[in-house]
């Protein structure tokens, strides 16, 4: 099960190797990208393990490096599961873990793999909904969106809510058959998190699942593949995509239209924690302070679709549903619960 929110094809600064297996036999950190700022052999190194692509992270990494030239940065990108295992199972000496997998971050903190972050004015300024204990701090927030191909719906008929989307799909099943895509919750951790959060907010989700199941929905492992297919025209509607990637692609491609559902829009937190295995936790704290400083906030807000936890989130304020950062997320990782959920999901997808 590999979870990734990365999108291939964006600017790669330094690719050490895809599917690179580190020397230790048991240690299987799959590094997707690596980016080094400053002299690689310099004594103080800040090692960041992240699930955010280098392209999206570069603005704040460079801004931080300019402010702290004494510190070199080794920024390692991995899938969410790989990043979790690197800390939970292997205790690799990363100083900071930034991940969009809120459930896995919560599990790391709950299981005692995170180091308490000392109180500071910057950290106390983060809203309570965006931090847990003194172990996890939210960095940025981004909406979970629907992306449609422009022209998929008639003028003025672009759906604004899930109900409207269900109605449009039902009105013209032949047009949308095989042209609706979403995450496969069985293979994508993010997809499962979004789907189960959707399901928790009401019965609309299961009605939608029935409808797209009947339309032979296509299931994806990652955002990037889905957006590529949208751009190619193989898909007309993609449901539950991560806002930052979608906005970034939509900014370049006018055929893509990003919709933040007005009934409710899930907001996903990208969170940071300092692992117990950190070799240089002070450097990690400097990075955290920077990310929550004015310059850090500006750098984060540069990425389309993404906003700092200290900024007011986009979209209709009443529709925002930030995924709760608390041990309730652990339920998301429960094997039996997931099995039950996936049985229901498969029943909706595969219809006689």
């Amino acid at each position: 099960m590999r979870r990734s929110l990365s999108s291939p094809g964006l600017i790669r600064v330094l690719i050490v190797g895809l599917a690179l297996v580190l020397a230790r036999p048991a240690a299987a950190l799959v590094v997707e990208e690596e980016f080094v700022l400053g002299p690689a052999d310099a004594a103080p190194v800040l090692r960041i393990l992240s699930t955010t692509d280098v392209s999206a992270a570069r603005p704040f990494l460079e801004a931080f490096h300019n402010a702290n030239p004494d510190l070199s940065i080794r920024y390692t990108v991995a899938s969410t599961i790989s990043a979790y295992e690197a800390i939970a199972d292997e205790q690799l000496p990363f100083d900071l873990v930034i991940s969009s997998a809120m459930d896995l971050q919560m599990k790391l903190a709950n299981d005692g793999h995170a180091r308490p972050i000392p109180h500071s004015a910057a950290i106390d300024a983060v809203p309570h909904t965006a931090r847990w204990r003194d172990l996890i701090v939210g960095i940025s927030v981004e909406p979970v969106v629907i992306v449609v191909r422009s022209g998929a719906f008639a003028q003025g008929k672009v759906p604004r809510t899930r109900r409207e989307l269900i109605d449009r799909l039902r009105e013209d099943p032949e047009r949308f058959r095989g042209k609706v895509g979403t995450y496969d919750p069985a293979t994508s951790g993010a997809g499962y998190l979004f789907a189960s959060q959707d399901a928790a907010f009401g019965s609309t989700f299961w009605r939608l699942a029935e409808v797209i199941g009947r339309l032979d929905a296509r299931l994806y492992c990652c955002s990037g593949a889905m957006i590529n297919d949208l751009a190619d025209g193989r898909l007309l509607v993609a449901y539950n995509l991560v806002g930052s990637y979608s906005r970034a692609r939509a900014a370049e491609d006018p055929r893509l239209l990003v919709i933040e559902p007005e009934d409710f829009t899930l907001q996903l937190l990208r969170t940071a924690l300092v692992p117990r295995s950190a070799a240089n936790p002070d450097a990690a704290l400097r990075m955290l302070e920077f990310l929550l400083s004015e310059r850090g906030v500006t750098a984060i807000n540069l990425v389309p679709g993404q906003s700092s936890v200290l900024s007011t989130p986009s979209g209709r304020p009443g529709a925002s549903r930030t995924i709760r950062l608390d041990p309730g997320l652990l339920a998301n990782l429960d094997r039996i619960r997931k099995d039950v959920f996936l049985r229901d999901w498969t029943a909706a997808m595969v219809q006689p």
Binding site: A109, N110, D326, G328, L329, A331, D334
Partner: protein, 473 residues
């Protein structure tokens, strides 16, 4: 002459007292100790109660969550289903962002959850969860466990669920309450400090009042203490009053004895004097006449002393009885001057007395006032030289009646003034004149018992000015 410095400068109230520990200090310390114990008890009671209440509340939530978890377990043939609502876990963490751990065990196998969460030593039975303490990843947690029977694989099978949480929230609440309880206890104690001071003062107040009342008394005041006192002080005051009564009895017995003795001496003395005078007339021998004159003089001296002793005893007894009435000083002095005139003329002194036009009335004991004035006049006559004049004046000065007796006698040295009041003290320059030393003592005592003032001043051009002021009626 006695030493005038030490005993006289000490007021009569200040007798030496041997001091033990202060009662007030003892009371304050005991109050403060009681307050400290009360504050500490308050703090501990609040702390323990708050701790228990917070734990009970948290346990209730944990129990409900464990029940919800166990009720979510369902078996379909050989498949175990679990509805694990995220809100159950969220709820457990809500109070203090606590860590949450759970575990489901079926036939000894962990089906889901944390392997690291230990199950209780005894297998819980019944519908109520079993609470226990354990550690997960080195963190102490409070756990609850419950066993449930489900139909699994065609047979009734027991599933044991365990749910645990850290108690950061409870600790935070207990800490917050402990702080408040601490401040409350300190506040209580701080309030108790001035209150215990006030209470100690209030309790000991009556003692001070009685002491002040007794200390303020005149030297002859031997009345029992009449102020109402708290019952706790009653034995002390009763003992004091008993003592005063005994003292008074002893005192009056002494005075009576002296008066009796003086009286018994005076009569035979008169006889001796009369006989000696007759003998003087009849004697021809000059030596014998000189001796007889000495006898007469001694008898006179003796008789005079006896009279004054009687007068003094009278003053002492009457000043305690407080027989008071209006006394018109003009009339009184009329009679007194008339009665003294023969004695004065015998010594070739002229007495000048002019009664004022308006009556001058004071409130007092007529007999005592008369005795005092007679003693002043007697003194003036006694210490004047032949052919001198003695002026007796009566006027009103403010709220006082003023009687002044002015003579041209030998006067009083300034140094003697203060020392003349006590009994049997006499001036340094009157050794040659008959006197007991009781006269001025009596005047002073009468003056004191009437709230008056008695003063002896040297007179300009020689002599003495004796002034007695008494309050007007």
């Amino acid at each position: 002459m006695t030493d005038t410095a030490a005993p006289r400068s000490l007021p009569h109230r200040l007798a030496a007292v041997s001091l033990g520990g202060s009662l007030q200090r003892k009371l304050i310390w005991q109050f403060l100790a009681a307050a400290a114990v009360a504050a500490l008890t308050l703090f501990l009671a609040i702390r323990v109660t708050a701790d228990r209440a917070a734990e009970a509340a948290q346990d209730a939530v944990l129990a409900a969550a464990t029940l919800a978890l166990s009720e979510g377990l369902l078996a379909e043939d050989d498949q175990l289903d679990m509805d694990l609502p995220a809100t159950v876990l969220s709820m457990l963490s809500a109070m203090g962002e606590d860590h949450v751990f759970y575990r489901v065990v079926l036939r000894g196998q962990t089906v889901t959850g944390y392997e690291g969460l230990a199950l209780p030593d005894t297998i819980p039975t019944g519908n109520e969860p079993l609470f226990y303490e354990t550690m997960v990843n080195g963190t102490p947690v409070r756990a609850a466990s419950l066993t449930r029977a489900i139909l699994f694989d065609g047979a009734q099978t027991e599933v044991q669920v365990a749910l645990a949480q850290t108690r950061h929230g409870q600790a935070a609440i207990a800490d917050a309450i402990a702080w408040r309880a601490g401040f409350l206890g300190i506040g209580f104690f701080v309030l108790a400090v001035p209150m215990s001071l006030l209470a100690a003062r209030a309790i000991l107040g009556p003692v001070g009042e009685v002491a002040d009342g007794v200390a303020r008394r005149g030297p002859q005041d031997l009345r029992p203490v009449a102020e109402s006192v708290p019952p706790e002080l009653a034995p002390f005051i009763a003992a004091l009053n008993g003592f005063i009564l005994r003292l008074r009895l002893a005192h009056s017995r002494t005075e009576t004895f002296i008066a009796e003795a003086a009286h018994h001496i005076r009569t035979p003395l008169s006889a001796i004097r009369a006989e000696a005078e007759v003998a003087l007339h009849q004697a021809g021998d000059d030596k014998i006449r000189t001796r007889l004159r000495r006898v007469i003089r001694s008898a006179e001296e003796c008789s005079r002393s006896a009279s004054q002793l009687m007068d003094h005893a009278l003053v002492m007894s009457r000043s305690e009885q407080e027989v008071r009435g209006p006394v018109e000083l003009g009339t009184l002095l009329d009679g007194l001057v008339a009665s003294m005139r023969p004695t004065a003329e015998l010594r070739e002194l002229s007495l000048h007395w002019q009664r004022p036009e308006h009556p001058v009335v004071v409130l007092g004991d007529r007999l005592l006032v008369e005795t005092a004035l007679r003693n002043i006049l007697d003194n003036a006559i006694k210490y004047s030289n032949p052919d001198d004049a003695i002026d007796v004046l009566l006027d009103v000065s403010g709220r006082m009646a003023r009687i002044s007796v002015l003579d041209r006698g030998r006067g009083i040295a300034r140094a003697d003034l203060a020392s003349l009041a006590p009994r049997f003290q006499r001036g340094e320059n009157v050794r040659d004149i008959v006197g007991s030393g009781l006269g001025l003592t009596m005047v002073t005592e009468v003056s004191d018992s009437h709230d008056g003032v008695f003063r002896l001043d040297p007179r300009e051009g020689g002599g003495t000015c004796a002034v007695l002021c008494l309050p007007l009626a």
